[in-house]
């Protein structure tokens, strides 16, 4: 009884220590990077609010990587970029513009292939009843931009004006951001804005999905071909293996049935490894703006 009584505290102490260790580990796992969970950020580059697409993408990535996947969406590009540069997420599908401006902190994971090329255009669109013939006719109107961190939805048009020695806030009577390419099309279609800067890829896809919406607009100007919005990761990855698996899953998408389904919804052909030099054209525009001030 006594022997047992003296042995009992030790055993209890041992148990408590074991529980403490277990709890400590659990707490660690909960707070920091969850064990093996891939956090993948999405900007409203493509069709937003499509829960079915998000579900399928998550399902494919989980099966392909073997890791649980969390898809993270935010309202603005800036928020996603910030998560990426502060290394809170493994990777994110961002725009070429923030990729260029945060080049030193980011690495390129994969670039989507649209119509077999990692390229797309930026469109300036107007209402279908507009009589404007080129961008200079839009002076004094109301313009809808997509996002201040978007290449196609802001940078391209701004650079175009800068080449003419103009600034959007003076060229247009009014300009506002809709934080979504689809919203730009809606704003122009409804007449809220006279013109808008929109992702050419999104516009073409929308023309197939919602022809009655794009039907109320027309493309006034198409830009040169530019690098497609890429999937990027922090230069110092959160987890090398997880990132490698994610890249592998993205590149292998066309090979899998559910991967092809996701690509079909996105109207994309696949993902490819590309050199960062693909984004030099965008970088040139950033440089132009920096010089223009």
């Amino acid at each position: 009884m006594l022997a047992e009584g003296s042995a009992s505290p030790d055993r209890r102490r041992l148990l408590a220590a074991a529980v403490a260790v277990f709890l400590a580990r659990g707490a660690q796992a909960g707070e920091a990077a969850p064990a093996g969970k891939i956090r993948f950020g999405l900007t409203p580059v493509f069709l937003n609010n499509d829960l079915e697409l998000l579900g399928r993408l998550q399902g494919y990535l989980e099966r392909a990587t073997g890791h649980p996947v969390s898809l993270i969406t935010r309202r603005t590009y800036q928020e996603i970029t910030a998560l990426l540069t502060t290394r809170q997420i493994d990777a994110a599908w961002i725009c070429g513009y923030p990729f260029v401006t945060h080049r030193s902190e980011l690495q390129l994971v994969a670039v989507p292939l649209w119509r077999s090329r990692p390229l797309y255009q930026s469109y300036v669109i107007v209402g279908s009843d507009s009589e404007a013939r080129d961008v200079s006719d839009l002076a004094g109107g109301i313009h809808a931009f997509s996002d201040p961190d978007s290449n196609s939805g802001f940078l391209v048009t701004r650079a175009l004006l800068a080449e003419m020695g103009l600034r959007p806030e003076r060229f247009f009577a009014r300009a506002f951001f809709t934080y979504g390419h689809r919203n730009v099309i809606r704003a122009v279609a409804s007449g809220l804005a006279g013109s808008g800067s929109v992702d050419g890829y999104v516009y073409e896809v929308m023309a197939q999905i919602e022809p009655e919406l794009t039907g109320r607009t027309r493309v006034l100007r198409r830009s040169e071909w530019l690098a497609f919005p890429p999937v990027a990761a922090p230069r110092m990855p959160l987890d090398e293996i997880r990132l490698a698996k994610l890249a592998e899953a993205l590149l292998a998408m066309p090979a899998h049935l559910d991967g092809r389904a996701v690509l079909a919804m996105l109207r994309l052909d696949g993902f490819a490894r590309e050199e960062a030099s693909l984004f030099d054209a965008i970088a040139a525009k950033v440089y132009l703006l920096a010089r223009a001030g």
């Binding site: 009014r174 919203n183 409804s190």
Partner: protein, 484 residues
Amino acid sequence: MLSRLDPRSWPITVKVPLAVASLMVLVGLILSERVLARLADTQERHLRDLAQSYLDGLSSAVAPSMLRDDTWEVFDAIERARDLHRSLRPLETVVSHADGRVIAASDPRRHPVGSSSEERQRVQVAGAESFSFEAGADTATAVRKLSYPGQTVGFIEAVFDTRHLAAERRGVMLALVATNGLLTLLLATAGWLLVARMMRPVTILTNHLGLARGVSAVPIAEDVVVRQRGEFGRLFRAYNALAASMDERETLVKKLAEEERLGSLGRLASALAHEINNPLGGLFNALATLRTHGHLAHVRANAIGLLERGLVGMRDVVRTTLAVYREEKRPRDLVASDLADLQLLIAPEARRKSVSVTLENALDGTLPLPSTPVRQAILNLLLNAVAASPEGAGVVLNASVSGGLFVASVRDRGPGLPEAAAQVLVGPMAVTPLRDGGGLGLWTTRRLVSELGGRIEVDHPGEGGTLLRLVIPLRSAQELSDVA
């Protein structure tokens, strides 16, 4: 035509259903007005509540964006609110700054961003918070002022489609009109049937009274009377009693007339007897002369001549009397010689009273008038005139035809016809014969002339006496006037 338009002249079977219909229309109008007013209240309250919830939702969605002047967010909020409140049917929504400049509108083409209209500023200055809906209108308007701690940030102005409410109101109105119209028609028909049924005894009575306007009242058939209960039953029995008494009276009157005829006959008979009696003495004298001196030829011839003249005179008197009082099997028309007969007939009575009767006969041939009643009527007047004339005076009978009228006038030099007697001739038919028995002849004359469709005129010429004139339309003229 005008009298038919006068409602007072309409039959009761029309008046009662019309009154019922008018009351129903009045009740229907009042009820419809109440129902529609209530409906408008309900619609407005319902719409106001929905509009409030729409504006509440939109206000909370756009207020922060308004502060940031975020056109897109405001526009997106308007679009989302429109999808959320489909049942309210928002037609147009405009979100503007406090100064009226548009931030975003559901139709940016009508209300471009940054534009400001005077109309909207006026609305916003006039009533910061308002809701206007008129029953039956196609749209309703609501304005909401947005304040952010104490300061006016802007306004939301929304226009809602209320055509479905107007349609509902029209539907209710149609249903009310149809229901009320049908009810009115039903009740008016029921009223008509009911009144027609209630008025049937009155119609029967009216028809019988219409028949009674002729000679005598026709009683209502006994089976009809038996079937009718209540006050109309009593009325029918009372009417039948009246008809019976009228019938009795009519019989009595006929009897009286007959008696009068016999009475005048009696008077004439006594005059006739007198007339025959006078020459009788002479005739007996002639007979005695014949018996005594018959062998003397000149005496005999003289006596026989005397006898013959006396007998011829008596024969004429008797023949005339027979002619006047013969029961004629077939009525014949009046001839000019009938008046000469009358003169003969009255002659004995006239002679007895030493009155001369003069005939001014302008008639010629046959007149289309029944002979007997005309002769009787003139004889009565002549008898009356002779009786009224003083000794030695003259009575003049004048007869003529002019303009389809037979006119016979009898003038005497008497003291003038008393007013009561004149009333018997020309007064209302209801006047009865004079109580003392006199005037029965006049009363009979009146009846005879009336039955022939004629009239009697009483005149008092300036030189004294009385002038009575019978005016009787000739039968052909009378028939023509009946046709007309």
